[in-house]
């Protein structure tokens, strides 16, 4: 039995690198410092029930086991014959595999797009338009005294983010507010009990604290770290917050612009914006200006709702406005553990972060045209290669339907709707558990991913699979005299 320390977690973009994993023989038997999601992955990844173990090819409607050579040949054939193939996924693998994928896309004149196209694609477009004042998570941990999660629920999607980098982390100049949160929680629970007891005995209701306060809570008058959550519903993270602002759905843009006006000391001639009273927003604007180091984190709630890119423009513009008055930074909450890496590698290899089209022989980038959901919705592609992702589940129906109509190759360690519908399934290894490599945290800090156990003998790493396909494609082209 051995304990591997400082393991980076291969699940979400927080990329916590302080896990301690107990390995016995070739099995993970214990975890420390993990959250629920990370523990579920590390303890269940090798469950044979959902693991792809052998290369498979669809013949007469049935999936049959074949040798690696045959599966690679078939994949190369599909890709070499296609006129406009798409290569999609990339956020749950290492940078080494992504680099290989880009080489393959160039060779076959395909489109390579990563999952950011359906999560923070609009954020990237906005950042290209207006820039971004940002920093690393370490700075926020040590210095930020005001944290705002906007349309993001770290409790559910990035469970350790608050504890490692923001309100509940202990930094050099700012301290964890965990204890005051627990005290507040006790207070609320006490009141709830009191109200329940009074309902039973006096038949009288004692009102609970309001969901959205009418004014700022007392903690805003202290120098301590404060947490604000803005969301369309009271998420679990909102319960941890000093202040929760419940914005009406699709009204984030209005709220952001209103705050911009208030930060610039303009008057608003209405009483309410996006369901929130203006006098409260004035206090919030004062709190934003009054902090010494503020940090916005925004989630896909902003990129996926009405306004999309424009919401992010407004959020970044608000951050820029605030920098005339104090210090403020902003950062997108990236989802998968290496989705930032997919953007970084794509940018350094092709010049563009996602939706890169090689069909003209050189990289072209025009999201809305060269992004896979659009290509699939228009039914333009004629083959697909999916790496460590599940677009059959995650894409809108028409896009998913068109993806399945074409010859489809799936490289994935686990079974998913995409591998179930694929024509070729190539069983790969888990990056960060069975294969090492590099991944980028959400603040674009690269971290090494470790190998904890040996992969099953019949599985290959994503990088190796892609290298073999690329080699075979080049060979096929040579035979046909295309090179």
């Amino acid at each position: 039995m051995s304990i591997v320390k400082n393991v980076a977690c291969p699940v979400c973009g927080t990329l916590c690198d302080d896990l301690e994993i107990t390995v016995d023989g070739n099995r993970v038997i214990g975890t420390k410092n993990t959250c629920a999601v990370s523990e579920a992955k590390l303890l269940n990844f090798s469950d044979p029930g959902h693991r792809n173990l052998k290369p498979l090819i669809r013949r007469d409607g049935e999936m049959v086991e074949v040798s690696w050579d045959e599966a690679i040949k078939r994949s190369a054939q599909i890709l070499a014959e296609a006129h406009y193939p798409i290569l999609y996924g990339w956020s749950c693998t290492n940078c080494e595999a992504i680099r290989m994928g880009i080489a393959l896309a160039e060779e076959i004149g395909g489109v390579i797009d990563n999952t950011s196209t359906v999560c923070h694609g609009p954020s990237i477009l906005s950042i290209q338009d207006v820039g971004i004042p940002t920093c690393t998570l370490g700075q926020i941990r040590h210095r930020a005294d005001l944290i705002v999660y906007w349309a993001s629920d770290p409790y559910s999607a990035h469970p350790r983010h608050v504890e490692r980098y923001t309100a509940f982390s202990d930094g050099r100049f700012q301290h964890s507010e965990w204890e005051s949160y627990v005290a507040r929680l006790r207070g609320v629970l006490g009141k709830k009990r009191l109200s329940r007891a009074s309902e039973l005995t006096l038949m009288k209701d004692i009102p609970l604290p309001a969901v959205t306060g009418e004014k700022l809570p007392p903690s805003f008058r202290t120098g301590k770290r404060k947490l604000i959550v803005v969301d369309v519903r009271k998420t679990r993270s909102a319960e941890h917050a000093d202040l929760f602002l419940q914005v009406e759905p699709n009204k984030d843009f209005e709220l952001l612009q209103a705050l911009r006006l208030l930060v610039k000391d303009e008057e608003l001639e209405v009483n309410e914006i996006a369901g929130l009273p203006v006098h409260l927003l004035e206090e919030v604007a004062d709190a934003l200006i009054g902090c010494s180091f503020g940090a916005f984190f925004f989630g896909v709630g902003l990129t996926m709702s009405s306004g999309k890119t424009r919401n992010i423009d407004a959020a970044i513009a608000l951050t820029q406005d605030l920098n005339y008055r104090t210090k403020f930074v902003i950062m997108p909450m990236r989802g998968h553990f290496n989705v930032a890496g997919a953007n970084v590698v794509s940018t350094w290899q092709t010049g563009y972060p996602f939706a890169v089209d090689f069909s003209e022989g050189y990289p072209r980038y025009n999201p809305g045209e060269t992004s896979v959901v659009d290509i699939l919705s228009r039914g333009e592609s004629d083959a697909g290669l999916i790496v460590a992702s599940d677009p059959v589940s995650n894409f809108p129906r028409e896009a998913a339907r068109n993806l399945i109509k074409q010859p489809l190759i799936a490289i994935d360690p686990v079974a998913s709707p995409t591998t179930v519908m694929a024509d070729v399934v190539l069983p790969s290894t888990f990056v960060g558990i069975e294969t090492e490599g590099t991944a980028y945290r959400m603040d674009r800090v690269p971290l090494p991913m470790k190998k904890l156990v040996e992969p099953p003998e019949t599985c290959l790493s994503d990088e190796e699979i892609l290298r073999r396909i690329l080699k075979e494609v080049r060979h096929l082209k040579e035979v046909r005299g295309e090179t």
Binding site: V37, V211, S306, G368, R397, A399
Partner: protein
């Protein structure tokens, strides 16, 4: 009843995913719709009984549950997964990104109808012939 549909990540969906998308845990945690407690009453939906969610883009049956994150009258919430993606708005407005949140939808109680499992849904939607 007319509602606004939001889709998003939940911690149960996140952990269930790691047990495999073809698992029962995944089905139980993802093929659901969280509804405001008062709306549950208006719609006469019993906890865990079937509700039908319809949008311009399609319809799907899932299990209705009382939202613990309420009150949010007129808003329903579904975890990311194949059940939601067959009814979301595919329009990307030139950004490459479909609209997964804030979609106009209709919800009704359908206690006698089934919720399709992932395999049945795949068969139904994309069945190969």
């Amino acid at each position: 009843m007319k509602v606004t549909l939001l889709t998003g990540r939940t911690i149960d969906q996140g952990t269930a995913k790691e047990h495999g998308k073809l698992s029962t845990a995944y089905f139980e945690n993802v093929a659901v719709c969280e509804i405001d407690p008062d709306d549950m009453k208006t719609l006469q939906v019993k906890e865990n009984s079937t509700v039908r969610v319809t949008t311009e883009h399609g319809k799907v049956n899932v299990r209705g549950r009382t939202s613990k994150r309420g009150p949010h009258p007129g808003i329903i919430y579904m975890p990311y997964g194949i059940w939601t993606n067959i009814i979301v708005d595919p329009q990307t407005h030139g950004t490459g990104m479909p609209s997964f949140k804030g979609i106009k939808a209709q919800i009704e109680s359908a206690p006698t109808e089934n919720v399709l499992t992932l395999q049945e849904l795949l068969e139904n939607l994309f069945g190969r012939d």
